[in-house]
Subunit: 316 residues, 2 copies
Amino acid sequence: MVANSRTLTRAASLRGGVGAPGSPNTPPTRFFTEKKIQHESLVTGAIESAFKEMDLQIERERTVYNISGGCTALVVVYMLGKLYVANAGDSRAIIIRNKEVIPMSSEFTPETERQRLQYLAFMQPHLLGNEFTHLEFPRRVQRKEVGKRMLYRDFNMTGWAYKSIEEDDLKFPLIYGEGKKARVMATIGVTRGLGDHDLKVHDSNIYIKPFLSSSPEVRVYNLLQYEHGPEDVLILATDGLWDVLLNEEVAEAVTNFLPNCDPDDPHRYTLAAQDLVMRARGVLKDRGWRISNDRLGSGDDISVYVIPLIHGNNLS
Amino acid sequence: MVANSRTLTRAASLRGGVGAPGSPNTPPTRFFTEKKIQHESLVTGAIESAFKEMDLQIERERTVYNISGGCTALVVVYMLGKLYVANAGDSRAIIIRNKEVIPMSSEFTPETERQRLQYLAFMQPHLLGNEFTHLEFPRRVQRKEVGKRMLYRDFNMTGWAYKSIEEDDLKFPLIYGEGKKARVMATIGVTRGLGDHDLKVHDSNIYIKPFLSSSPEVRVYNLLQYEHGPEDVLILATDGLWDVLLNEEVAEAVTNFLPNCDPDDPHRYTLAAQDLVMRARGVLKDRGWRISNDRLGSGDDISVYVIPLIHGNNLS
């Protein structure tokens, strides 16, 4: 690679970017190249804007209605033959097609969003209120370890390397805990969603909100690309369901439930959703609520939608 | 989802993070949970640190040796049966196995790194020197369009939405141009690499370096998982090769070249690399250097390594 293939020469720079800073005062050209924007990007952008706007509305209204707290948000939009599934938080959407599971969302946790969170804290360290460090360590660092070498991970690393422990590394880590117990600033385990504008680190003036993103991930599913049967469905559900049941267990339950319904019953998909809620809640036994294989039922809210895809079939 | 499943109660917070800010002065426990770090993460972390260190060394030495400019960096490390391919820049590595192409790196350009670059500019706007806007528009905005609506894209969007054009939106976009012509601040088309500490926007005091990352992407390939034949190779090459030849063309060329060599010739892989360079440079004809199908040859530096994988076979 030679330098002038990576950086523009003066002449090329002028050709490439009329009106770019540093270019002489050439009169602006009349015609501009314009990026082609696909329809799909417009729907995705509209959904992304809607999430941002909703979060701002919650911020405005929370004083009027005296509502605090936050929530996960999972939305599906059908438009021009495509499903747009937008997720910010710890809910989940899956499509079951021909008994196979197709994930339609991913979860946003301190672990999956580690690099974004560390990068933000690195660039705006005042958000850590002098109490936290943006670096990650395999365990809490002890005072007697200052000056010794320990493994660490920074925002731009996926692996672990050694550093000499400094005073600053004794601060509590921005991200701490593993799996279900991972938390941002020892407080929250979900890193996207709406609301939570007033949430602070316990007994401090450190706000959590700057680390929470209201941006959804939007996945697109082309309904017209497949012929869907009556048991092909989109399932949207909160973590109350997914905490206790695997995708495959949910798929199996729905796939077994639907054929036993009257095919003309308009409520069969609602019944399938109710069945899923019951499977996640379980039955009250001597030692609490129990689901299959004597596992503990969900103690959380359980919301489930089962949406048939057969009506999306291309009839033309 | 209920609030206390997302945020820790006071009691849980103390259990979850002893010594967390805001917790009472409980004596620190003697034992800590420790994250298990895999061997693979240590090698990856060491490579990531090496890239960072190399970039710092270039920064220190550039005054002593009076060397300016920057470069792409592509490294392969073999350790304990695994290949680690680390890439920062616009070089590329592929594995050819049984005539199939396995990409071992991805390119870092203003387009693939748009969100990282916009996020940085959004959080540290002084880096834009009051000359650029971090927002993306489908084309240059004209003064007469102030107050009108236009599509835009921010760091946290993958789609496009509408906004009212303001005075600030008239600034030159941080990322401008499409495909091969995409540039950061009208200057550079590769967003990771080493060096370029002194690179500035033409005729300005705006430095490019803060936007360039020296962090490589590290991909791991387990050599022991497959039995490799004599024509299975790892190819590392600079953009001089990939600008004019597709992965598939390179794979076909190597796969056709190697069987025609003497299998005992220790130089056959070097010869295959030379063959690739010639195919990318082409032959001087009336209208310049031409490669197959009368396409233009590469005008850039062309560096190629062809590394046999057969020596990695598990012999135990």
